[in-house]
């Protein structure tokens, strides 16, 4: 969320610049500045400005397309449409690759190195890892773990890109699914708590019953045993007395 805070000032600055720009070349230079700025990843505010949208009609239309590409597209989109779009400076290439990583992180949580290398046009793993670490993680747009053994990148957090028009509906659907799942979970937890309580009640009752039975049996055995003990020891006494009598008479 701190990315948004960092970006908000930049966004305001560029929006002011773009609304102040009067002619198309000024607007297109603002667009080029915005897309090459190393800390700016959000372009929908600039896209929403009326005089930026007016570029649609002019012959500098491809700058608007470029802005749209940076807002929603990825590196392979650029490669397929390279002839219709202006040449990108290295800063912009880097930013577009970062945005590509963000888009990929949107759909998969575990990104295999092969797919990343293909999407980003990177040939070896070392370069890919350098790119991920230096450009993505240190910039703070992505957080995750690099698993070299399984050759994949586990994404834990990825910054948000600009929303495509249909995405809002998906997000609302996801939120309502999350809500219903947590409601179900709450109900099942309550059931478990009730079950735990009732089980402990049953256990206590059982324990009490067993204790009572033991007490009863103890009492009855005590009486019986006392009689038995008394008879046995008196029997023993008489036997010994008899032996004594026999022995010493």
């Amino acid at each position: 969320m701190d990315i948004e805070q960092r970006q908000s000032e930049l966004i305001d600055q560029f929006v002011k610049q773009a609304s102040a720009a009067s002619n198309t070349s000024a607007i297109s230079s603002v667009i080029v500045d915005a897309t090459s700025h190393p800390l700016l990843f959000a372009f929908s505010e600039i896209l929403a400005l009326p005089n930026v949208l007016q570029l649609e009609a002019t012959d500098e239309k491809f700058y608007l397309d470029l802005l749209r590409l940076f807002a929603h597209g990825i590196w392979s989109d650029y490669k397929s449409n390279a002839d219709r779009l202006p040449q990108l400076v290295p800063d912009q290439i880097l930013k577009l690759k970062q945005l590509t990583v963000l888009t990929l992180a949107e759909t998969y949580k575990v990104l295999p190195y092969d797919q990343l290398m293909q999407e980003l046009d990177v040939t070896n793993v070392r370069e890919l890892e350098d790119f991920l670490i230096n450009e993505c993680m240190y910039a703070g747009i992505v957080r995750g773990k690099l698993d070299q053994l399984r050759r994949c990148f586990e994404v834990q957090f990825a910054a948000g890109r600009d929303l495509r028009p249909g995405q809002l509906g998906n997000m609302i659907q996801t939120l309502s699914d999350w809500l219903s799942t947590s409601e179900n979970m709450l109900v099942s937890i309550q059931d478990k708590i009730k079950w735990a309580d009732s089980m402990s009640e049953v256990d206590k009752k059982h324990r009490k019953e067993v204790e009572e039975k033991v007490d009863e049996v103890k009492k009855s055995i005590f009486k019986v045993g006392w009689i038995y003990f008394y008879c046995f020891t008196s029997l023993e006494f008489f036997i010994l007395k008899y032996i004594d009598d026999i022995m010493f008479r």
Binding site: Q7, L168, M171, L175, S200, D203
Partner: protein, 318 residues
């Protein structure tokens, strides 16, 4: 008397202060109780179950802390004696205590004073003015000791004094200020410990399980209510009731992307392995218990019934 403050100071309150004040109040209140008991026994006529006919005692003390620019951070507090005859706090005692605390905490200054009660009163202004020579704008921390189960937030309020012109006369009145709670790591540990106090006879596994599940339940409930707020907001944004705020949408989308939080195959493997381990251990423990009970039973059986076969074995009868 209390409107909202306009001084622009931000207050940060440490939990230690709240615990100190409530401890002070509880001690004084419980020391009052032995005198109440014979009093209640003596008055049998007409006295039904009125527990304490005396009003709850008011305790007073001083709060200390640090003021950096516009931020006032209240760290600690200590008790003071209140002299009901002069309606003022015991000054020499205050100064002695202040000196002692200065030696231990050289950075802390007296920021104000505290008391208990339900609302700030007129007589409090005397004490407030008396403290104004130590600190030109003291704060008044008020703790409401009445337990209100429906109240969600802390019964602590912080008042400042402001000079308002009422009926042509400039008067100092108390105005309420907002505050945030700030914790140091040690405070967080102790507050956590108190919050998780199990009942003293909670030795049985079921009550501990229930307590644990209750904790999880309340955590999920809070998460649920917050997600609901987000959901409503997005729905309103879709319908067009609220203007689209892109940075918020971006944050929500990044949040939702974290969502299948524990879903990968590796998690399932680890989870099932741990689950099986736990089941195995409890099974082994149960087996051990059963075999030891069996062993005891066999010992008792052999003692009881072998005695029967051995005639002539003398007990300690004589």
């Amino acid at each position: 008397m209390a409107s909202s403050s306009s001084s622009g100071l931000t207050f940060k309150l440490h939990p230690l202060v709240i615990v100190n004040i409530s401890d002070h109040y509880t001690r004084v209140k419980s020391q009052m109780n032995p005198t109440l008991a014979p009093h209640n026994n003596a008055t049998n006529n007409g006295g039904d179950g009125v527990v304490s006919s005396l009003p709850p005692p008011r305790v007073f003390g001083c709060v200390i802390g640090v003021q950096k620019g516009r931020t006032v951070e209240i760290f600690n507090s200590f008790e003071l004696l209140y002299d009901p005859s002069t309606h003022s706090l015991d000054r020499p005692f205050l100064e002695k205590k202040q000196e002692l605390y200065k030696k231990v905490f050289p950075h802390f200054y007296i920021l104000g004073w505290y008391s208990t009660g339900s609302d700030a009163e007129e007589s409090d202004m005397h004490i407030h003015k008396a403290l104004m020579d130590i600190n030109e704008s003291p704060v008044y921390v008020l703790l409401n000791p009445a337990i209100n189960h429906s109240q969600k937030d802390l019964p602590v309020s912080i008042f400042e004094s402001e000079l308002h012109v009422i009926d042509g006369i400039p008067q100092l009145i108390f105005v309420r200020s907002s505050y945030t709670i700030e914790t140091v790591e040690a405070e967080r540990i102790s507050v956590d410990h108190v919050a998780h106090l199990k009942p003293s006879d909670g030795g049985s596994a079921a009550t501990q399980l229930a307590a644990n599940l209750t904790g999880i339940h309340s955590a999920i409930k809070m998460l649920h209510s917050r997600i609901k707020v987000l959901h409503h907001y997005l729905l309103a944004m879709e319908k067009g009731d609220v203007p689209c705020e892109n940075s918020l949408l971006r944050q929500v989308s990044s949040l939702l992307r974290r969502l299948p939080a524990i879903e990968s195959g590796k998690f399932q493997d680890d989870f099932l392995m741990e689950y099986n381990d736990t089941l195995l251990i409890s099974y082994l423990a149960m087996l051990t218990n059963c075999s030891s009970a069996m062993n005891d039973l066999v010992d008792k059986f052999s003692t009881a019934y072998d005695r029967h076969t051995r005639r002539g074995g003398r007990t300690a009868f004589m």
